[in-house]
Amino acid sequence: MAEEEKFEPNIIAFTCNWCSYAGADLAGTSRIQYAPNMRLIRVMCSGRVEPTFMIEALQNGADGVCILGCHFGDCHYISGNYETKRRMDLMKDLFKDLGLDENRLMIEWVSASEGERFAQVVNDFTDKIRELGPLPEEYQQKLKLLKGAIEGSRLRIVLGSTKRAFEEGEIEEERYVQAMHDIAKEEIERMKIMEAVDKNKSMTVPEISEATGIDKLRLWRHILSLTQKLVLETAGEKDNYMIYQRRD
């Protein structure tokens, strides 16, 4: 392979003000050399990073995204890093479901005193992304679905309510996380369904199933919900199936 074609990845890293950003500074003042591919975006807390940010980064030219925050127990805002970890787990899970490589996302903890570790983490992640190569074009379609699901109010409500649910509601974390994942998967499927319906204007259940690859039994549940929520409406009948279209 020719030397000039060698791939250099673009990486976006969200770093929290109190630990990892300071860690990066320390690396700098210590003159520790590390790969130049990463662009830092400072946030006050890793918990500020919304899943949408990561998707937008990938949609706009990044090949990998990482979040660097404080170690557990050290969060300046007490629980911000726990929140972001849960979201990252969800994102990785959804990446896997959609057939995207979850290794393009990373979360790591770097304290203000870990300059060396910061450099190490950056180098490792850069190497990994370099190995994975540029973000394939076909990712964009799926990222769009994912973004639609993540931005929907249903998932935003669930993602935004964790603290309340655990602390006031005393609900078991495992159950809540499971519900969160289930809802996210449902919402992605619904994005797929609506995308297909919008593209074809109106469709029947077997047609949607064919277009989206969603099993008909599961698809029917979505249709029941989408009609109940007035997103879809029926528009006649074809081959013993109702025709569905978006409701204006």
Binding site: L155, I157, R164, A165, G169, I171, I183, K216, Y241
Partner: protein, 759 residues
């Protein structure tokens, strides 16, 4: 002088027993004078009794006729005109003698022994008084379905205050889930919703939703019911049911109300017409995200809501707890397949306001079926599930088939049946038009439903053509049989109502007292009694309202003092009777013990446990029962004594008679209020007198009318068996059999078993 009055009952007794021979026989007996007449219950018969009491100044009377469950009340009233109403004893020579003994000679001998027992008991009868107690005019209705709603409206119209306790989040019951109702094809909700509104607005009706009755104590005229209201997690006083919470709730699960044909949020109301019209959080699916609390402008969300327990004091109770469907998953019907649904699920698909807005779209993929098939008798008329016919299925399946066919003439609709049962006003006409519309009625019981991907293959024989068929269907509807609801079964134990073999609540008499229970002031209505169509539920409700209005019309009711009495001279104040009384009817001042007449339920368990014999139950005293045994055995030494509790065993023996079953003439029934009334002495004494065997016919375990009488009897029997073993008589000749009041065959089997054992 004791007067014995023997009834021919036309041929009912006269055809099986030599009545004149009996009269002659007892006339020879010292201190006894006997008469016979054709119908003792008739005016002529009653006049005869009254005349003779006066003329001969009789001390007491023996009535030898049918079961006291039939005309006991008539004779008591008739005798009561001339002497104390309790100074008579009956001899049941119809159900328990004439009808079960094919040989006339043997029947006559058996009748002699039964009457002789009654005479001996009658010698010891004493006057028993009555007293008046106050009644509460409030009524408790358990179950807010069509029967409960109708009864509540009827009663409130008559001026009674009604407390309605409903387990679900809304009243309405199953009927308001239906699309239309037969035979008029009216919209169920159009009929139901005015009722719901009437009940909701009626100032005399208090509705307690999400509530269950957990305990009932007290007496007729003053029952005290404990009610537990489950948390709604929504403040009923604040919620306006605006639905903002439901819109934002991120949770989505299958809706129970829609029988998993549609979806709901974790906070929801089951339907737009719900009463009370309040939302509810179902905590099993709630993930406690707090969204509803955020969006509720009324501030109605109460995550920390807790169960609330309270007591209601009422004069009468209506049990209208309804039915469920028998579960047919993992059977040859494969209900677990998405496209095999129940008739009730079909209703939810058909309802215009339901999850599919009234379109029949099958659950596996939303396809509108081309071939729809109804399976009749699914779980009914089937000894593996329910022996009985569920009565409504032929009509409800036909109704749905007709409605679907009318809207979709191209749809192929088949209905597989064993027998079409369309008895009722307008029913046969309804069925006629169904066939004329092109619905195929195939006479054959479905053997199995074979899943074939999303479709189904239904195996059924066309019994007219003698040909097995495999019909391909894309949606199969099981006309699923009805079973008593969980609530109905619970009431059986909580209020100690008697259930039949089918587990539905049993009335005192299925024909002549169809809504009364053995507990005075407690009535049953609707499908808690048996499967029935809506109009019969409404008829029940009206009758119940009428019965209650009669019962509660006066400020006081008279109660008979057939109660336990303590003899202070013999009482050693040990307190055993008070400890054992589940009705708290025995109180102590420390100085002495006293029976509270209004609380005593006359089971007699106290007399059995008293170490000194200081407490005894009137009408069933220790001596009276012993003398009755003497009387029977004096006449027929080889008898097998059957102590039968008046709630179950005695009824079962009567039923065996009504069914004309054969029972050995050796079997002689002695009525006791409860098997717990039978002492060890009673169990052993007959053997001393030469009897061949003794058995107790008691209620089913867990269903004792007096809570634990049969369990106490069980212990006593075990002890007495040991004694009999030691004495060399053999404990196997004494047994206890449990049976419900509806289980005549069980009594026959018990009798047969005893005869075998005691040969």
């Amino acid at each position: 002088m004791i007067g014995v009055f023997i009834c021919f009952c036309g041929n009912n007794i006269g055809g099986y027993v030599h009545v004149p021979e009996l009269t002659e026989y007892f006339n020879k007996k010292e201190g006894v004078i006997a008469f016979d007449t054709m119908f003792l219950c008739s005016e002529i018969g009653q006049n005869l009794i009254k005349e003779k009491i006066e003329e001969l100044n009789l001390d007491s009377v023996v009535i030898a006729s049918c079961s006291p469950k039939h005309h006991g009340g008539i004779f008591q009233a008739c005798i009561g005109e001339k002497m104390n109403q309790f100074k008579w004893e009956f001899a049941n020579i119809r159900e328990q003698c004439a009808w079960v003994t094919p040989n006339k000679e043997e029947a006559t001998e058996k009748a002699k022994a039964i009457i002789n027992g009654a005479i001996e008991k009658a010698k010891l009868l004493t006057d028993i008084g009555t007293t008046k107690v106050s009644v509460t005019k409030d009524v408790l209705i358990i179950g807010g379905g069509i029967a409960g709603m109708h009864a509540s409206l009827e009663l409130s119209d008559k001026g009674f205050h009604v407390n309605m306790v409903e387990k679900k989040e809304t009243i309405g019951g199953n009927m308001v889930r239906f699309d239309r109702i037969f035979p008029t094809d009216d919209c169920a909700m159009c009929t139901g919703s005015p009722l719901l509104a009437d009940v909701a607005m009626n100032p005399l009706i208090d509705i307690f939703s999400l509530s269950e009755v957990t305990e009932v104590k007290g007496r007729a005229g003053e029952y005290i019911a404990t009610v537990v209201k489950k948390p709604r997690y929504v403040d009923e006083t604040k919620c306006t049911a605006c639905g903002e919470c439901t819109t934002h709730c991120p949770v989505e699960v299958w809706s129970e109300w829609d029988l998993e044909m549609g979806l709901r949020a974790a906070i929801y109301k089951p339907m737009a017409q719900a009463v009370p019209l309040k939302n509810r959080i179902e905590r099993d699916s709630c993930i406690r995200c707090g969204t509803c609390e955020n969006v509720c402008k009324a501030g109605a969300i109460m995550y920390d809501d807790e169960p609330r327990e309270f007591k209601l004091t009422v004069g009468a109770i209506v049990v209208a707890t309804g039915y469920d469907l028998v579960d047919l998953s993992n059977t040859e019907y494969h209900l677990e397949h998405p496209n095999v649904i129940t008739g009730l699920q079909l209703e939810r698909l058909k309802v215009p306001s339901g999850p599919t807005e009234g379109e029949i779209l099958r659950p596996s993929d939303g396809k509108k079926p081309k071939h729809l098939l109804f399976v009749q008798c699914a779980g009914s008329r089937d000894r593996r599930h329910n022996v009985y016919c569920s009565k409504i299925c032929c009509m409800y399946a036909t109704k749905n088939a007709r409605l679907i066919k009318a809207e979709n003439p191209e749809m192929d609709i088949t209905l597989c049946y064993i027998d079409m049962r369309t008895a009722g006003r307008g029913y046969e006409e309804f069925f006629d038009t169904a066939r004329e519309m092109g619905i195929k009625y195939l006479r054959g019981n479905v053997s199995e439903i074979v899943p074939d991907g999303e479709d189904l293959i239904v195996r059924v024989e066309d019994t007219f053509a003698n040909e097995p068929k495999a019909i391909k269907a894309d949606l199969v509807v099981l006309s699923t049989g009805l079973i008593p609801s969980q609530g109905t079964r619970d009431m059986g134990t909580i209020i100690h109502l008697v259930s039949g073999a089918d587990n539905f609540l049993a009335p005192v008499h299925v024909k002549i007292a169809p809504v009364d229970t053995a507990n005075k002031g407690i009535y049953i209505a609707g499908t808690s009694e048996s499967p029935k169509p809506i109009q019969e539920c409404i008829t029940d409700a009206g009758m119940v309202a009428s019965r209650i209005a009669t019962f509660l019309k006066d400020p006081e009711i008279e109660i008979e003092l057939v109660t336990s009495k303590i003899n202070p001279e013999v009482c050693i104040k040990c307190g055993t009777c008070a400890d054992n009384c589940v009705y708290d009817a025995i109180e102590t001042t420390g100085e002495f013990y006293k029976v509270l007449d209004v609380s005593c339920q006359s089971c007699g368990k106290c007399s059995v446990t008293c170490p000194t014999g200081a407490i005894d139950l009137s009408l069933y005293t220790e001596d009276q029962i012993t003398r009755q045994i003497d009387g029977i055995l004096a006449s027929d030494r080889d008898s097998i004594i059957a102590f039968s509790c008046y709630q179950c065993g005695y009824n079962a023996a009567d039923l065996a008679g009504t069914a004309k079953a054969k029972i050995s003439p050796k079997i002689k029934v002695i009525r006791v209020p409860c098997s717990g009334r039978v002492t060890m002495q009673h169990m052993l004494y007959p053997f001393y007198k030469g009897a061949k065997g003794v058995f107790l016919a008691a209620c089913l375990e867990g269903q004792c009318h007096y809570i634990d009488g049969n369990l106490q009897a069980k212990e006593k029997v075990a002890l007495a068996k040991k004694s009999l073993d030691i004495m060399g008589v053999g404990g196997h000749k004494l047994n206890l059999f449990n049976m419900s009041s509806a289980e005549g065959p069980k009594f026959v089997a018990a009798a047969k078993r005893m005869v075998e054992i005691c040969q």
